[in-house]
């Protein structure tokens, strides 16, 4: 086999297209599911951080400290190490350490703290005067969260989840390389290990296209939501 030549990149006869399509769907599924969970978890954690940051209540201070520690620790662990580290937990939670579902816990745990920090920042960047105006009208804390914090920071929340999702796509490929399925798995096993450079190339192109699509949707959504300037 002439696997070392540059021409091997274009030897498309070796590509199993059926397999390629199902791997693409696996990657998209992994990305979407983890994105949704990360968005919910990240907003909840970010809100918790924001609400407890300047509190005088000792309980709130403790909570802030714990959440901040959790976020900082898991944000610092390189993803590839995190997967290995979480293997026993994954086994317990999902019942297997192989396949797309097994990649979910580590994907979510690595991305949620990252997004939580972005959410907290988005809330901090809101004009405090608007929150004060709501307080002066007699709004409850929950009303302020629901009617002021979330809608007013929505463009920042959406662009944050776009960035997070794009790094999630990268993580799915990494997870794929150690058995989570998807395009990463395909590129590594069928491409690299079987000397099929064409498969690696096609998988790469598809991943790039997926990233572009997510970026486009995110940018478009932000543009539609943001009424600050026309």
């Amino acid at each position: 086999m002439n696997s070392q030549g540059l021409g091997s990149y274009f030897n498309f006869s070796n590509v199993d297209w059926g397999n390629m399509i199902s791997s693409t769907w696996e990657t998209i599924w992994l990305t979407l599911v983890s994105m949704i969970v990360v968005a919910i978890l990240g907003i909840a954690l970010g809100l918790l951080l924001f609400e407890t940051t300047n509190s005088q209540n000792p309980l709130a201070k403790l909570l802030n400290w714990i959440v901040a520690l959790f976020v900082n620790v898991f944000r610092s662990i390189p993803f590839i190490i995190l997967i290995v580290l979480l293997l026993p937990i994954t086994q317990k939670l999902v019942g297997t350490i192989i396949g797309p579902r097994a990649a979910l816990p580590s994907l979510i745990i690595s991305a949620a703290p990252f997004y939580a920090r972005m959410v907290e920042l988005a809330f901090h960047e809101l004009d405090h005067g608007v929150v004060e105006a709501a307080e002066s009208m007699g709004a409850t804390r929950w009303q302020i969260i629901r009617k002021v914090l979330l809608p007013e920071s929505l463009p920042a929340l959406v662009s944050g989840i776009t960035v997070t999702t794009i790094s999630l796509i990268g993580y799915t490929a990494m997870a794929g390389a150690i058995g989570a399925g998807g395009l990463g798995n395909l590129a590594y096993q069928d491409g690299f290990q079987s000397n099929n450079n064409a498969i690696t190339l096609v998988a790469t192109v598809i991943i790039v296209i997926i990233v572009f699509i997510f970026q486009f949707i995110g940018d478009f959504a932000v543009k539609r939501i943001d009424k600050r300037a026309n």
Binding site: S136, A139, T140, K147, K227
Partner: protein, 343 residues
């Protein structure tokens, strides 16, 4: 009625304890437009925020119609806040909501149904002159229109009190006057008590009937606007009044300098007229009685809610006894005189 009793507020800062408000006693009657004027850092912002519990006094009490607002917390405080509207220097509108949705916001908070809130908001938009702009977003509005939204929003829950926190300070002079006219109009239509803080004497003169002057956390002077204008006792009050009566004092000083060169023998006098005096022919009477040459340098008359205030810079020359006689005559007519230069 609003009543501040021995109110003090201190903050701990890195530079030590800061007395933002000190021993303030103040009564504000229903339906009045009460202006609190002071330079930045005088404590007026802290004071007005105590009226809706955004700040709590370190000691003393704040009462509104017998309810001690400074002692309320939680649901009771929020309930009370529904009845107190507030407008802000930077409008503090929600940019993600349209004009109508912004006005609906406090109604939603107070638990009105969407349909009710919408109907009320439409009516309020009309009241503040924003008909036809209901679906615009704040970013599409001018500063004056944004403040109109702020006012409509503050009125949504039919408050008895409207607090204005430097509401016109970010607006140009013409828009300021339009917004002030609207506030005056609302005060009369709804018999609403308005408490406003400002650093612009112009705002006080235009709409307030009572004024308190604040400096270093203390109220140094208070009373009906014209009283305070007529006989400012404190240095800070005089500065505010002068700023207003002689808007181009610097220019006048330059003109005075030039005239001094031209007429080295002249005497330059600043005259201040109050109320009815501004309508009497005092100066022409003075000229009939005394042999003088008169040169008007600058003059202005301002209308306040309670009457007119005029200021006039004149240069008079002639015999010394005639000048002295004229000055004595002016004092007899209760015109405030100040000789700016005399050789």
């Amino acid at each position: 009625m609003i009543e501040f009793k021995d109110v003090t507020k201190t903050f701990d800062s890195k530079q030590g304890v800061v007395h933002a408000v000190q021993d303030v006693n103040l009564k504000i009657e229903d339906g009045h437009i009460y202006g609190i004027v002071g330079y930045s850092g005088a404590g007026k912002s802290t004071l007005i925020r105590m009226l809706n519990g955004l700040e709590t006094p370190t000691s003393g009490t704040v009462n509104i119609d017998g309810v001690e607002i400074s002692a309320l917390t939680g649901a009771k405080l929020r309930e009370q806040r529904h009845k107190i509207g507030m407008i802000f220097q930077h409008f503090n509108l929600l940019w993600s909501r349209t004009v109508l949705e912004n006005i609906m916001f406090p109604l939603e908070i107070a638990g009105n149904s969407k349909a009710d809130a919408k109907q009320k908001a439409e009516h309020l938009a009309e009241l503040v002159g924003l008909s036809g702009r209901e679906t615009a977003y704040p970013s599409e509005l001018s500063g004056g229109q944004k403040q109109r939204v702020g006012i409509a929003r503050a009125l949504a829950n039919e408050p008895q009190i409207l607090l204005s926190d430097e509401a016109t300070s970010a607006l140009d002079p013409q828009t300021t006057d339009e917004v002030l006219d609207l506030l005056l109009d609302i005060n009369k239509k709804l018999n609403l008590t308005i408490v406003l803080i400002t650093h612009e004497m112009h705002v006080i003169r235009k709409i307030a009937d009572h004024v308190a002057v604040m400096e270093d956390g203390k109220i140094v002077e208070q009373g009906p606007v014209l009283e305070v204008f007529k006989r400012p006792k404190q240095a800070v009050t005089k500065r505010f009044v002068n700023e207003e009566v002689t808007p181009s004092l610097n220019e006048t000083t330059a003109v005075v300098g030039q005239l001094l060169e031209k007429y080295p023998k002249g005497t330059i006098v600043q005259l201040t007229f109050h109320g009815d005096q501004a309508q009497l022919p005092i100066v022409s009477e003075m000229l009939k009685q005394y042999t003088l040459d008169l040169n008007i340098i600058e003059g202005a008359i301002h209308q306040t809610q309670e009457g007119a205030i005029g200021s006039l810079y004149i240069q008079i020359s002639g015999d010394q006894d005639q000048i002295d006689g004229a000055l004595a005559y002016l004092q007899k007519m209760r015109v405030e005189t100040e000789v700016l230069n005399r050789e």
